[in-house]
Point group: D2
Chain length 112, copies 4
């Protein structure tokens, strides 16, 4: 991957979007969702600690997995509409590199 010839201040970090990250506008909402996810994880630990019924715990693990999937899809959507779009408009090379990176992340996610 090559970085476009004009300025990212820190061009050492070619992993970065050239503007702010897409999710920043929704940052509070993401943080709230992740706070809830953290609480769900803590709740599952408590259920195990209290030796609650396995199936009930599994149901909560499924709910947490679905919540995470929602966060992943949201982040991906934001990423595509900001970083990837922007890279594509900088030129084919930058665009293709971001597309490749995004599809690799999607592949990791669907195989997780």
């Amino acid at each position: 991957m090559t970085t476009p010839t004009q300025l990212p201040a820190a061009s050492t970090d070619d992993e970065q979007c050239h503007t702010t990250h897409g999710y920043i506008t929704d940052k509070e909402r993401y943080l709230a969702r992740l706070k809830r996810i953290e609480g769900q994880a803590r709740g599952i630990a408590r259920m195990v600690d209290e030796e609650q019924y396995c199936i009930d715990i599994l149901t909560q693990v499924s709910a947490l997995t679905a919540a995470l999937r929602g966060v992943a899809l949201g982040l991906l959507d934001d990423h595509m509409k900001h970083c990837v779009l922007e890279a594509a408009q900088l030129g084919d090379e930058a665009g293709l590199a971001k597309m490749q990176e995004a599809t690799e992340a999607i592949a990791r996610f669907v195989r997780a």
Copy 2:
């Protein structure tokens, strides 16, 4: 929830294993894994708060999803080898009910 020490008088509560829950032997290990999962969720929130790169966050969400999947498969395995096995040995009706319950939980999980 407490685990009955006697055989259940009331089969009304067919949600319960008749002995202790299977995962109890591994309880500390499950708690350690869930503690780690909770930490992963907190780490992802911190990444969002610090506006780290979306793809790196997605990678961590994938890792957390995989960790949860591991917990789910472990709980399911324990459940099958304890609660379901035991129910099956109590008779067809009890066994079928537990099998049905387990496959429904699996369906919820794979569709999560």
Copy 3:
């Protein structure tokens, strides 16, 4: 569902159910679903051959994936309620072996 009262004639083949496979009662229905799935696969090939729009093809791949998931969950349900239940009633060892085998198959499926 009948429980065998005799020991299996061929205990060498412990991969087999001791009675007929569970899905046999629904065999025609499974065959019809799989026929449809085969047709879906052929339809996707035709879409590619006709160079139809990628997103429309992806949508059909998702539909086919969901159909396969349904077949997998159905087979699993039948397997649990017949082979696994029966094995569990033959004794702990036979039951645990089938439970182990089933959870391994589930793990392969959810990671597929």
Copy 4:
């Protein structure tokens, strides 16, 4: 990858890429993979017809699911690197529309 310099003749059909579909270069390879997938589906039907062991059938369903996932990820990759990239270079509006469409297709796929 060439970028169109002209406006699309038929902008009425905004479902289409303005050049040929991305996968066309790999068309023969996709067709070969889909032919194999169709054969896998037929093989699973035959296993059911012959009443083979459920777990073995499940294993084949998992393999087929993984093969489909590979096709989906390949199509998505091609789509992003051709149609989506091209749309992004036509302008924000066209780019965002294609990004939205792609993330919706991904969401359908990961929830399939």
